[in-house]
């Protein structure tokens, strides 16, 4: 198997191109995605695709989020496999009805006679854009029965899970972190190498499978996106202090790979969930509740959570860095949890 190193943006572009090649029902629809001389989507992921597949399959729309998702739902019901684009995930609130009341419920309401195979891409994460351009709203959607929610954090997973999402017969929302597209993370992302070995050959990464990113026996960390890299950096730093963190990337939040998570926590006896989405009602609450219930007798300390504090996002760097989980905050939490021995 031959591989090469690429970044997430490239990986997703490849996934979409391969699936469009493979299935003529797959198409893209959204704002500024295919305009000649334009941006190829807010983050350039679609650059080059119009030349390959033409504007009949890469449909530029007015600024009309309800129409973009409504149209995608209707087309999916008719057997197409739309990949709608909303530029920033913050704009998803403009079309919540189409997602929550239509896409997620149509199949059930029809008594199982219909399906809604659409794949919605949503860039999340802070980048000094302020309260309306930096949210990580994935947690709302694990609360929507009928949807699937995935959060790829590296190029290998991103390509494989994007392809699985496109082929999935249910609506899937793919949340990607905007600071992780490049092959090299921005300063603000710690500038770490974000490329991964990606096979030339076709492969799929299944929805519902978690990945162990690091082995350890001291405690289990569950995290995604940029925060996952911060957790890995913290884990590396703390190795010297004798703290061996096991780090799990759940990849899929709905459905959740509980087995991988429980196995790890049952081994370590301690768990920390970390995400950039806000704290209260975040997906960390669901994971913490599940672990606390299902690993109860194995827990040596209470399950901990780190998340963005419960405030809208401030724009100025010093405040933004204060609000979202930093490597420093993660380290403190790990050390604190490591010291806890309540039984």
């Amino acid at each position: 198997m031959t591989t090469r190193r690429i970044g997430i943006g490239e990986a997703i572009r490849e996934a979409i191109a391969e699936e469009m090649q493979r299935d003529e029902n797959v198409f893209l629809i959204g704002e500024d995605i295919g305009i000649p001389g334009g941006f190829g989507g807010a983050f350039g992921v679609y650059l080059g695709l119009p030349e390959k597949f033409g504007h009949e399959r890469i449909i530029d729309t007015p600024i009309s989020e309800k129409a973009i998702i409504g149209t995608s739902v209707g087309a999916a019901l008719m057997g197409m496999r739309p990949i709608p684009d909303l530029q920033y995930s913050d704009f998803i609130f403009e079309c919540m009805d189409e997602i929550v009341n239509q896409a997620a419920k149509m199949r059930y309401m029809s008594g199982g006679k219909l399906k809604v195979p659409l794949t919605l891409r949503c860039p999340v994460g802070t980048a000094n854009r302020g309260a309306q351009h930096g949210q990580s709203p994935e947690s709302y959607f694990i609360h929507v029965p009928g949807l699937k929610v995935v959060c790829p954090s590296d190029a290998y997973v991103a390509k494989g899970v994007m392809k699985s999402a496109i082929r999935d017969d249910d609506p899937v929302i793919v949340f990607e972190h905007k600071l992780l597209y490049g092959s090299k993370g921005r300063e603000s992302a710690g500038g770490m190498d974000l490329t991964a070995e990606v096979p030339e050959e076709e492969y799929l990464f299944p929805i519902g499978k978690a990945l162990k990113k690091r082995d350890g026996n001291s405690l289990t960390i569950i995290s995604t996106h940029l925060t996952l890299y911060r957790c890995l950096a913290a884990a590396e730093d703390l190795k010297n202090e004798g703290i061996e963190c096991e780090v799990i990337d759940p990849v899929s939040l709905l459905p959740l790979d509980t087995k991988t998570i429980y196995d790890s926590v049952n081994k370590t006896g301690k768990a920390l969930i970390a995400h950039e989405d806000t704290f209260t009602g975040g997906w960390g609450a669901e994971v913490a509740a599940l672990i606390s219930q299902n690993c109860f007798s194995k827990l040596k300390a209470p399950v901990q959570r780190i998340a963005a504090y419960d405030v809208p996002l401030p724009v100025t760097p010093i405040l933004e860095q204060t609000v979202v989980p930093s490597i420093e905050r993660i380290k403190e939490k790990i050390i604190q949890l490591h010291k806890m021995e309540l039984k």
Binding site: A67, G74, R107, Y108, M109, S110, G111, L114, G146
Partner: protein, 338 residues
């Protein structure tokens, strides 16, 4: 003031009789549903269609069998007109396993892919939001099919109406937007919600074609859609047809209709789509009282059969609650919860 007598446009007899028959089928079905609802045989709530039958029948008869429709919280008439059997529609209203949505949808979500009807969407203008995708699929696959989207005048104040019609127009999608302007959205008169007199006036915001028709006249509705359909299927772009009509019943259960006048109701009653059509058919010697009686008798039998079928059908099994949320196999999200 519209002309009461109907110009039959020398359409052929068979077609006229079938239009007439279907208008009666919708009326009698809805009357029966209301009785059953009052008797407490049907769960939930219902939104009745009496008065508007000419719209559903005119539109659906003019469409091809393979065309699709989207509907609203008031879908009974649309469903029967598009070809959902009275049996599966009635069974759905009873919440039975044999219903067109297996008892999961109910009154506000009637529909059946087999006859080209999406489950009705009870979110006002929800169908307007989705129908563009139905039309886009037809366009991309070049199937020459058309989608008809039913909605009320109240729905035209929703953002979905604006975004949907604009996208459909600019993409030249094969869609017929059918606005049933029955003057009221629940208790609110249209003229209290906008300064624009006709819904049709609003298409100028999208460069879309439009036509206003007498929604109590099944022939006029039929002709308008028939004329529009083929050009639209071939890419001429969408059209909005505004049918001026009236709902004889209240908005939903327990609506005393105190927000409208007796005079207004009486006026619209004179335009009852059944009586007008019947008179015109008789004037033109296309039916006599016997044939009429026979038509009604057959319809009664169809309805009685549907009720018996529904009553005798089983309810879904408790386990059915847990299937159909997802198409792809996925370890039931409910496992952990039991």
């Amino acid at each position: 003031m519209v002309e009461r007598s109907i110009n039959l446009n020398n359409l052929d007899k068979e077609l006229l009789i079938s239009l007439f028959t279907d208008v009666i089928r919708l009326r009698k079905f809805e009357d029966k549903v209301y009785q059953l609802f009052l008797k407490g045989e049907l769960p939930g709530t219902i939104h009745q269609y009496q008065g508007q039958e000419a719209v559903a029948v005119g539109v659906c008869t003019a469409l091809n069998k393979t065309d699709w429709i989207t509907s609203t919280h008031r879908p009974h008439g649309h469903a029967i007109a598009k070809g959902v059997s009275m049996r599966s529609a009635m069974a759905e209203l009873y919440g039975k396993e044999t219903g067109c949505c297996k008892g999961k949808g109910g009154s506000m979500h009637l529909g059946d892919p087999e006859v080209g009807m999406l489950p009705a969407i009870a979110i006002v203008a929800g169908g307007v939001s989705i129908v563009t995708g139905v039309g886009l699929a037809f366009k991309m696959k070049n199937t020459k099919q058309v989608a008809a989207c039913f909605f009320g005048e109240g729905a035209t104040n929703e953002g979905a109406f604006h975004e949907g019609l604009n996208l459909a127009a600019v993409q030249k999608l094969p869609i017929i937007y059918v606005c049933e302007n029955n003057i009221y959205g629940a208790s609110t008169a249209y003229n209290k919600t906008t300064l624009v007199e006709n819904v049709a006036d609003r298409v100028s915001s999208y460069g879309m074609a439009s036509k206003i028709v007498d929604g109590m006249n099944v022939v006029e509705v039929y002709k308008a859609v028939k004329e529009a359909r083929d050009a639209i299927a071939n890419g001429s772009g969408p059209i909005l047809i505004e049918a001026k009509t009236y709902r004889f019943a209240g908005h939903s259960r327990g609506d005393a209709k105190k927000y409208r006048t007796k005079e207004e109701e009486d006026y619209w009653r004179t335009l009852d789509p059944i009586d007008r059509m019947k008179d015109s058919l008789i004037e033109n010697n296309l039916i006599d009282n016997e044939t009429f009686a026979l038509i009604v008798k057959n319809i009664q039998e169809e309805i009685d059969d549907a009720v018996v079928f529904a009553q005798q059908s089983p309810f879904p099994k408790v386990e059915d609650a847990f299937i159909d949320a997802y198409a792809s196999d996925m370890s039931s999200p409910t496992e952990v919860q039991k």
